[in-house]
Symmetry: C2
Subunit: 308 residues, 2 copies
């Protein structure tokens, strides 16, 4: 988590761009080239995703601290898509970006250990170690309790730059069905938040935040503010800005008096910014850059100055 | 789900074998061959996993209705492992088995739609459609509410053989931290179970069960019995038998008066049965078969005769 916060301070930008490609988001010239070379197949689509991601990364890497590839969109292309995910992570690292893999993984024991090593750690074969995906952070689902989180803490041990974000209050309309239910005077998401504080308690970093963050949606500004007050050492990943309806004012509650404590994600609005320009999409990377800057400025106008 | 239940009746066996390979489970002769051909690398390991899985499938496919590959162990080998997962699913289908991909995926909207199509459906590129993974069923996490389940119901629509299993009461020691918390007089897992009933209500099949199943651990026999009574249309996937401590007596509560309503998983005990024999593991597939049969007989001795 430390590296993410350092980058946020350095770039004065508490946002992350979600790399959630679909064929519909990718301009025709990229798809045509990829399909011509690799066929109108899963392989061709994966190639188009990769070129698209690389150009987006090139365009935003000097102003945006992090990217968040969403596993689902890569898995939709089968193993070729997952190969594209691995290459995307590698390329983002090459351009200096922090990478949050959005997998919402959640399991127990040796299974969770496998996920932890797959996404944040290494796989040992004989004397050699290999890095399967090598992200900096992973989103996880804490429904299974401590058994599902402990293996992640073990893998992150001694590496303060790694982090996880546990789902607490998600941004979707039906998130309340379970998450808002009352346990005594608390809600389910309060309790999940409390677990995040507990899981992170032993590794609180220089900026006051632990390696265990929480996902709290921009679409529930009140709950965001309430959880910020309740969970003083938990860094928030805030989805739901832009296409899902949240704005700068809505996410302000995620931040502390130093302008830290949250990173706001936008995917669709950045990735499809070129479509609003009415052209053929050859300027998609520039359009993404402009939307990323607009989003940053919107959010900065509502929060205290960022200082470490 | 219908095909799974048909196969359980046909084979008179309500069990599933978890295909959760690790290098430690695989006998030396398979690893040596794979490493010699493909190097002591992620690729070599993935090749060893595949050969191992295929031999296990060959050994059990005439007596066991289903396999359950756990995504985490494949992701640990990067995209090459995920390619092995896809090949394993294909091979299990070739041998007539029902495949439950254990991914515990959970997300919302277009993201969950991508997971649903990735694991249970198709990906359209132009006029052609491709099958990314093609499992019959997927385990999912319902923490995000209906928004996370609706896309799965859409993909399963019109295909009664497909199914999902939503985490309700998991088998691990700390599952109670959130799942046992009280919402009024119910627990969180009760409420999750109720949601399963609701999600499945519109597609109840010939055997009285919907396409929306639940994961309920063998390690909590009382809760298993209680949920069986409460959730009359919800088929249970029951992990925790064998290595995690549950026995035939413990899982009996998952079944109805027709011996239906549940499928019990064992992974480690089957996969590592050869180690108890003290040999070099060349008989690993036969040992797996024997343990699968022992498990079947153990469970059958505690439940009503299976009839459709």
């Amino acid at each position: 988590m430390e590296k993410l916060i350092r980058k946020i301070i350095e770039l004065q930008n508490p946002t992350v761009v979600g790399l959630d490609p679909t064929l519909d988001y990718i301009p025709a010239h990229i798809k045509e080239e990829a399909f011509a070379e690799h066929g109108k197949t899963l392989k061709g689509a994966a190639e188009a995703y990769l070129r698209y991601n690389m150009e987006i990364i090139d365009a935003i890497c000097d102003v945006v601290p992090a990217v968040k590839p969403q596993c689902a969109f890569y898995e939709l292309l089968g193993w070729r898509g997952v190969k594209c995910l691995a290459k995307t992570i590698k390329y983002a690292h090459k351009r200096g970006m922090y990478v949050i893999t959005d997998g919402k993984r959640g399991d127990i024991g040796s299974t969770m250990q496998a996920y932890a090593n797959a996404h944040l750690g290494e796989m040992a074969i004989g004397e050699e170690s290999f890095i399967p995906f090598g992200a900096d952070a992973l989103t996880v689902n804490g429904y299974l309790g401590t058994d599902g989180i402990k293996p992640l803490l073990d893998v992150m041990q001694g590496n303060p730059d790694k982090g996880i974000f546990v789902l607490a209050k998600t941004s979707n309309p039906s998130s309340g069905e379970l998450q808002d239910e009352k346990i005594g005077t608390d809600t389910v998401y309060d309790r999940m938040g409390d677990l995040c504080e507990k899981w992170g308690a032993e590794n609180i970093g220089k900026y006051g935040y632990s390696q265990v963050g929480a996902v709290v949606g921009a679409t529930y500004p009140e709950q965001l503010r309430e959880l910020r007050a309740r969970l003083s050492h938990t860094f928030f990943l805030v989805p739901g800005y832009g296409a899902q309806g949240g704005g700068g004012r809505d996410v302000a509650g995620a931040f502390d008096q130093n302008g830290l404590g949250g990173i706001v994600n936008s995917s669709r609005a950045v990735l499809t910014a070129w479509k609003k320009k009415g052209g053929d999409g050859r300027d998609f990377a520039k359009a993404a850059y402009e939307e990323a800057v607009r989003m940053r400025d919107d959010i900065l106008s509502y929060i205290p100055q960022i200082k470490g």
